[in-house]
Amino acid sequence: MIENRPITNIVSHLVLIVGVLIVAFPIWITFVAASHDAVRMTQVPLPLLPGDQFFINLKSAFVEGVGNAREQSVGLMLMNSLVMALMIAVGKIAISILSAYAIVYFDFPFRMGFFWLIFITLMLPVEVRILPTFKVVADLGMLNNYWGLSVPLIASATATFMFRQVFLTVPDELLEAARIDGAGPMKFFKDVLLPLSRTNIAALFVILFIYGWNQYLWPLLITTDKSMYTIVMGIKQMLEAAEESPEWHLIMMSTLLAMLPPVLVVVTMQKLFVKGLTETEK
């Protein structure tokens, strides 16, 4: 801060507080709705202060499920989301770090060809090739299972670029020294490069976990079996049911549960999150 004028300081804080309130208002409403019973949630106007049904709703949604998706409990959908998010994040990191290692540290024919091939994936988001990709997955018999949910999404140009960037900053002397000590390519990778890129891996993991957790279109296409629903698409099924019999207290409870894991990851690992966000966008 340059000058110290109490008025401008107060105005600054006011602007920020109003901003925080606007950003947080939808969540507050959700929390309030999740803490009332079904009867209160049909009376207009809806409450603005929390009620005392929070844990009853929590149990009911978590164990029994909501609306159309009633056969599936929110607990199971959370589990599916977790498995999918972890598979996507770990898979993307694993295959990207290996291909970046090959491209930076090995001289082999078609090296740049492979690099451009990976680069192209950046320009082909799922949204623009919905039908043919669905067909491939169906032909491979990967509908309605975790492999189909995660594998088609784990190719990653951005992660490969990031690791390439990291490896390019590693001093050449490290490889020379490792060689003198008799280390082969895999030993060098495991004992030198992996430990050096530990924070980058962690930062990338935070971003990719959120990316995986929040997938919507892809699970929507390839899961028809209710036992494979992820929580994000489960919410959508509940909203559809809500047009006939609104169970807003349970829907909003599920919504809270759906955003809790990724939000917790962002808030608790804020430094890694910011690092991951700024690095992968370069």
Binding site: P26, I103, P125, P132, L277
Partner: protein
Amino acid sequence: MLKRVHFKRSILPYVLVAPQVAITLVFFIWPASQALYQSLLVEDAFGLSSEFVWLDNFAELFDDEYYLAAFKRTAFFSLMVAALSMSLALILAATADRVIKGATTYRTLLIWPYAVAPAVAGALWMFMFDPTLGIVAYMLGAMGYDWNFRLDGDQAMALVIFAAAWKQISYNFLFFLAGMHAIPKSLIEAAAIDGAGPVRRFWSIIFPLISPTTFFLLVMNIVYAFFETFGIIHAVTKGGPAKATEILVYKVYNDGFIGLDLGGSAAQSVILMVIVIALTVVQFRFIERRVAYA
């Protein structure tokens, strides 16, 4: 970009790139080439035979008033999301850059919507604006404004714009803040000594200096609004009422997956690919420029 010191030729690098390349070929390149190929075909009503029709599918699309309307709607939607979200984020970042006490707390409280899935964000906003029960709808009603996004197309559009922009505020905020932190303090101090107040300093120094960030965010926000908001539209309005919120990505999904018009949907996919490629090129050219700035 190859290391000066590197390993000799062997089979190992092929093994290392194999998983990534296999997935790219099977799930990216092959489907994309299929989309390209299908965009040149017309299938008969029973899907038994198909005929090669060159660019007829594209010609048909650009004659189709619904498609052109969806194009305009998508442009409007993206620009509104970008403008709303970026201006709010800019105000918040500019004030957060000033305060000393509580700066990290404010940051924590502002960045978490990034982690909320678009479809979930849609659910939150849909609940607040629910015509019969929603709190905001109730307040609007009390003020004499008749709110029903299920019937009124403009209101539906406004609702999805709000939800999409809300989710994107944190992303924009973080990048604006990082851009402002990179400005040397001496510049701002010099301006203060010359008698420039906070507002003047913002418009004459900070805003011009963060213009690369602003441009980068504009591109990223348009990409976001074009492709990642599918979840919001699908969960909240399903493109309705009367196609009032049908954006291009939703139309590809709807025509292809629900309407089963393979050729037309593939042609739409190809057009979207061209848009992504164009946006990516713009983004990469800009990054070269940003390096030159630093």
